[in-house]
Symmetry: C2
């Protein structure tokens, strides 16, 4: 993947935001209707040739991004902003190309990523019609002391196998460094912020579901310590729904 492209091509690094509500995730897959499909369709229109984009990683169906990053190679002579505008023109409002610039020919959106930041938004109660698409409505108050104790257990370097999706465990390792797990509360709005060197499939939603269940008294910090050791997923590690999840930043 890191082979240097021919001289007349440049490597472009693009940051984009998307409302994932109506997409089957970021990455192309059978069934289509992904962010990648729409961006590549517009690249084909602009350049008259198929150009592949390479994302920093996938996001699941219904998950949003404030700053997903992808790269592609293309020969363009008219400046970065004109290219950004040309590509944006054919995209729906749910996808916004926020920045586009030339990168080193060696830059790779996925392999160069040093870490990622995700946020998960929870509303304690029933969210109004204007925020319901961006959060998980949890109808009961949580035990915040218990949630904090569980968060403390989860922070750091662990084997997160018990907090990954069931259908896709093809990783070389399931050890990740959860460098940050912040809990912020403002009134009924709760935000969990996760930063790690990398995330497993459905890891943030599994961690969120587990933390909420700790807050509801269905799971304890001690049990979470056990899960990190035993690597066995249990039903109380619930997968939180996708609409509350945002990919906030890819760190290079």
């Amino acid at each position: 993947m890191n082979k240097r492209p021919p001289a007349f091509l440049s490597r472009w690094k693009c940051t984009c935001a998307y409302d994932g509500t109506h997409f089957n995730g970021f990455q192309s897959q059978e069934g289509g209707n992904t962010v990648q499909d729409l961006v590549e369709r517009q690249l084909a229109k602009t350049f008259g040739a198929k150009i592949r984009i390479h994302g920093s990683g996938r996001t699941d169906s219904g998950v949003h991004a404030r700053a997903q990053v992808f790269h592609f190679d293309a020969a363009w002579k008219h400046g970065a902003d004109k290219l950004r505008v040309a590509l944006q023109t054919g995209l729906p409002k749910s996808i916004r190309l926020t920045t586009l610039r030339k990168a080193s020919p060696k830059f790779h959106a996925r392999f160069d990523a040093k870490g990622k930041v995700y946020r998960y938004h929870i509303y304690l109660g029933m969210a109004d019609p204007f925020t319901t698409a961006w959060c998980w409505s949890v109808p009961r108050e949580l035990d915040w002391k218990a949630v904090e104790a569980a968060a403390k257990v989860l922070r750091g370097l662990h084997d997160f196998w018990a907090f990954s999706g069931e259908n896709d465990r093809t990783y070389e390792t399931t050890v990740r460094d959860l460098r940050r797990l912040d809990i912020r509360r403002r009134g009924r709005n709760v935000t969990f912020t996760f930063e790690a060197d990398g995330f497993l499939y459905k890891m943030v939603r599994s961690l969120t579901g587990a933390l909420v269940n700790v807050g509801l008294g269905k799971l304890t910090a001690a049990e979470i310590t056990e899960l990190l050791k035993t690597r066995k997923r249990i039903p109380a590690v619930q997968t939180a729904p996708p609409q509350g999840l945002f990919l906030e930043k890819v760190i290079y």
Copy 2:
């Protein structure tokens, strides 16, 4: 309309919020798909009979509400909150019944309204995918001194004929008391707040379009003074798009 209902009926006052994006407005009309249609469908399911609701007024296709008010008459024995939940159950997430309570049998959502508050949200630039459905993206900076001067002219008791929709001027009078027109700016987010004893058809969107055109140098405060006198609508009184408009409050 103010005829007292039979003794076994109660009059109910309901406050609701809705995301108007995919509705043909609040009030029933040919073509269906209105907020009223959905609420009445759920009332019919709950009571087994057609029950009409009476809104404080209509909102246009694509316009939102944080607190629209309607009333209806129904015989219900199980408490207000149980009725609210029964009605909410059959409604999409885009409609939220926030409060429901018994009102005086003489209460009328439309005739008893003493005023209304609307807010119009503008984003200076291109809004991100998460706010684009709730604002008007205006690509250029505005001349705020000129906008403030125009707002000063508009505040108070005037004949707003020149700021109402073209197809529906069947009012007894087009004089309204614009008691409040506030402009608040935070970074690129601008909010106009309008309060009046009542509003003409498309009045808030026409005032907003005119104010923005003043900010863009296409209209002046002096011309607005003229429009209030001459009662002639001109193209610079543009109708702002619906998605930025919220009915915030009905005052009783």
